[in-house]
Structure formats: structure tokens, C-alpha cells
Amino acid sequence: MDEVVRIVEEEGILHKKPIVLEGLPDVGLVGTIAASYIVEKMDYREIGYIESDLFVPVMVIHEGKLKNPFRIYSDKDGGIVVVLSEVAVPPRAVYPLTTALADWFHKIDAKLIISIKGLPVKNRMDIEKPEVFGVGNNEAALGELKDKQVEFLEEGFIAGTYAMMLWECTKRKLSAISLLAQCYPVYPDPGAAVSAIESVKKFSPELTVDVGELLENAEEIKLKARDLMQQTTLSAPEMQKGVEQDMPIMYR
């Protein structure tokens, strides 16, 4: 067991070319809020966890039970896998984590990897219904985005876990997309998570989750997510998140 990041899965789990939803913390905690809500409302089962010496030495307690903050869930049919975390990803762990996850996605023969993320916008306060944009890592992924009528980013930089996730999946010939919902840069954004979930549902008809309760409980979620948001914001400069606002030099 000398891997830098170890993905530990329960024995006997069957995967049937699953769609993977990745909701690791990033701007607006869009992925974390969306992934947690999906897991709770769809009653997905915890099937594993991720551990690494590079992660902060933190465990969480839920209902008296000790849990790893980096967890993996699945539906009962093995068609959907969800990866989420309740603590920020340390910048030094991004490369080994995304490499290990992409290796595992390849091993379970994932059909499509969807990273649920936020797209920070300065005028979020004036936006009632956040829009969702997509980034695809290959022709098949771009085809999926077009098919589902998700507008995709055509130029720019992307940074953080989802950027490296797309790249690591590309190297393993796995189709991956990132769905980016317009969000507050440094505040938890349940409204953006609602938009993101509505987009994710287009890719998986089995996801019948109703977002009503997420909107109703938005303020409660914002209160509970404050500390994770602060951790995530602190790691943003090292993640080069600022570069996402930059214009790339001439390309191709």
C-alpha cells in the first residue's frame, strides 16, 4: 500500500458502466452541495472512501459514527457513483488525487465522469437563475454537451481539481465533462447547486431528484457550509483559481 492516494472500496460492489458525479469542494461549494443533496435525496449507499497522507488529518462524526470526509457513494443498481468531500482538497493533493480517481474510474469502466463545479461571476448578486456551462475533454464529451444543449466554454483557463480531472481522464481515454454553474466566488451557493443538478439530470434519467427542498433550505445550507467555504477559499490562490479570469494568449 504505497500509493500516495488510496481509494478503498467495499468488497463485492458491482459497477455497470456508471456515470460518476464528482463534487469535491471548489468555488461556491457548488459540487459539494449538489453531490451531498443528490446522495441524501436519492438514498445512495456509502461504498468507499479515499485516504492519503496528503490530506489534512481530519475525520468527521455523523450521528455518532466516525466517517472519512472523502467518501464514495453509489446507487443500488451500480449505474451512478458519487465522489464527495467534506473538507477542502489540499493543493498538493490535487495531482495524486485526480490521478488515483481517474485510474479507479478506468478500472470500474465509467461511462462518463461529470465534475459539478461553480463558475465564479462578479455580478452573481444580480443573477436570479444561474446559467450552467460545460467543458468536455473529447469529441464524445462535447457531443454529449451539444446533445443536452449545454453551452460550452470555448476559450479560457480552468484551474483546480476538475481541470486536472478532465486531463487525467483524457489520458485514459475516458469521457469527462465539467458542468459549471454561475456562482458566488467565496460564498456557498445553493442556488447555483440547483442549476447544476438540473443540468446533471439531463445526463442521467435515473436521477429523479427534486431540487425544491434545496431551495427551501438554502439559508440553512449556507450557514452549515461556512467553514468548508473558508477552507476552500484559503486554498484557492494555490489552486491558481485566479487564472480562470485571465485571457489565454493565442492558442492552437
Partner: protein
């Protein structure tokens, strides 16, 4: 490491106040400060500013009670957000403006600045 250190610094106080998430941005001629204030109504927000500090006290419409939570606390209730910020530059308090929308408070604070036109020889 910054993240690890942050985990041990609580964003709440025993006096029933929560520290809100906030952001300070230097916009050149002005300083823009925003606060995330869930469960707060506009009429319950108090903003005080001097030339170099900004204080926000925002009472929640319903107190937040977290039970069965934490290692040091079994139960804790919060009624308000409170934060005082030392501003990076002096501002003109009389010209400050504030907007509250969807739980976000945005305060615009013009800097004290005396502009002098430089002519080119």
C-alpha cells in the same frame, strides 16, 4: 499550513454571534466589501463605519440552534452575525453606499483621495 491552521480557528463566539463570510476588494477609487448574511432581513442590518473601520451587526430572523454538535459544545444558539473589519485605506464614511439583496450585503466605500492633474511638458 494555512488550511490546517484555519480548521482550529472557530468562526463563532460563545456570546451568540457568528462571524459572517466576507470579502474585501480594492477597486481603485473605492473599497468594495460584501458579506454573506443568510437568515437576515435588510431592516435588521446595522452598518457602522469610521474612516478606517467597518462594522456590521446583522440579527437573524430566526436564531440558529445547533445541537449534538462539536467536541466542546453540546448545544449552541446564534442570534446574529457580527464582524468588524480594519479597512486597508482611509475612506469617506459620508459617501458610503450599501445594498442588500438575496442575503448578500454589498458596501461601497469611496477612498479618501485627492486627485492632482499632472500636465505634460
Amino acid at each position: 499550513m494555512e488550511i490546517e491552521r484555519r480548521i482550529f480557528k472557530a468562526t463563532w463566539e460563545h456570546n451568540g454571534n457568528l462571524e459572517p463570510l466576507y470579502e474585501v476588494e480594492d477597486k481603485g477609487d473605492e473599497i468594495l466589501v460584501t458579506f454573506d448574511l443568510p437568515r437576515v432581513r435588510k431592516e435588521n442590518v446595522k452598518i457602522n463605519t469610521t474612516g478606517d473601520t467597518l462594522e456590521v451587526i446583522a440579527k437573524m430572523s430566526d436564531a440558529v440552534c445547533w445541537e449534538r454538535w462539536g467536541i466542546v459544545q453540546k448545544k449552541i444558539t446564534f442570534q446574529a452575525f457580527r464582524k468588524q473589519i480594519k479597512l486597508p485605506e482611509p475612506i469617506e464614511p459620508e459617501k458610503a453606499q450599501a445594498l442588500f439583496k438575496n442575503g448578500i450585503l454589498r458596501i461601497t466605500l469611496p477612498k479618501v483621495r485627492r486627485k492632482v492633474l499632472i500636465t505634460i511638458d
